[in-house]
């Protein structure tokens, strides 16, 4: 397989207001609550613990429903990018406070000053910018910092409240 450009192309406000930031934090909080529940159920079934019958039945039902109908909508992107709930794989999504995740993302969005990221002002909409992050790979997922920020942001659902499409 030859080298190929794999990247995110997104558009959003150059300046993110305090209101949008607060809404994003709230969305990530909702995501983390749901993700924590999912992690708990999946871990229970796969772990060595000795849960009581009722707890185990609840976890069984949760995972059965998940497998039949797919993950809850709010977790769909996380599953797409990070696989089924797993403490290790999902650490980037639930291991830090929503405020920290959103602030880190916004720091990158504002400056775009990492090696795998480029940006320009939208020529048609002043106040909006186009951000591209990615790299040339032989088909594997890019490992750059910007791509990583976008991955976390997409998985945790913060992009929509921030006005980033």
């Amino acid at each position: 397989m030859g080298a190929e450009l794999i990247c995110h192309i997104c558009k959003g406000p150059e300046e993110i207001s305090a209101e949008l930031r607060a809404a994003a934090i709230e969305e990530v909080r909702r995501f983390q609550e749901l993700a924590t529940t999912a992690l708990g159920h999946f871990e229970l079934l796969g772990g060595d613990g000795d849960p009581d019958a009722e707890t185990e039945a609840l976890a069984c039902e949760y995972v059965r429903t998940w497998r039949k109908h797919g993950p809850p909508e709010l977790l769909a992107a996380a599953v797409e990018f990070y696989g089924e709930p797993d403490q290790e794989n999902w650490r980037a999504l639930v291991g830090e406070a929503p405020e920290t995740l959103v602030s880190r993302f916004l720091g990158w969005w504002r400056s775009c000053s990492v090696r795998d990221t480029a940006a320009r002002t939208d020529p048609d909409m002043p106040g909006q910018k186009i951000v591209v992050c990615g790299e040339t790979t032989s088909g594997t997922e890019p490992e750059g910092e910007g791509f990583g920020h976008m991955k976390v942001a997409t998985a945790t659902g913060m992009l929509t409240p921030l006005g980033i499409r």
Partner: protein
């Protein structure tokens, strides 16, 4: 130019109309005609022994003004991207018919399936798209086919005529 992801981010119409194509072809024809004159003036002015005949002295004035005040507007991008007028350096701009150069660029813009290109629709402007072309380099200029096509189009100054910003 440091190492990292080097790319161009462009916005323009999904479909380029025939009228835009015709105008661009006409512009390239004009560019090529004037560029051949410029190349000849550089050749005459810089020939061994220095300018002697009135034609050569006239050519020298042209070259001197170019060096002193920079390239004329019509050649500013070509000068920046391909160096001062020279038959070999400027061959990518002059070696083919205007129709061929413009059509090749439009085909690339329309399809965008090269390995160094990524596209998406513009979320705010239906009928417009965002095109990114570039690659991860260790400091050099991108050498992918799209980057080369784009360099030529920029040097020929046809992007605005095609509605591409």
């Amino acid at each position: 130019m440091g190492s990292g992801f080097h790319c161009q981010i462009l916005v323009g119409p999904d479909e380029i109309c025939e009228a835009q194509r015709s105008v661009a072809i006409e512009e390239v024809r004009r560019f090529q005609s004037r560029a051949r004159e410029a190349i000849e003036k550089f050749r005459l002015a810089l020939r061994e022994g220095g300018p002697v005949t009135p034609t050569e002295v006239g050519a020298w004035s042209f070259v001197h003004a170019w060096w002193k005040r920079g390239a004329p507007d019509a050649f500013a991008a070509a000068d920046l991207l391909f160096g001062q007028p020279d038959e070999i350096r400027w061959r990518p701009l002059l070696g083919e018919e205007p129709e061929t150069l413009v059509s090749r660029f439009i085909d690339w813009w329309r399809v965008g399936d090269e390995d160094d290109t990524a596209t998406r629709s513009n979320p705010d402007l239906p009928g417009q798209k965002i095109v990114v072309c570039g690659e991860t380099t260790s400091g050099g200029e991108p050498v992918g086919r799209s980057s080369k096509l784009l360099r030529i189009a920029i040097a020929l100054a046809i992007l605005p005529l095609l509605g591409i910003r």
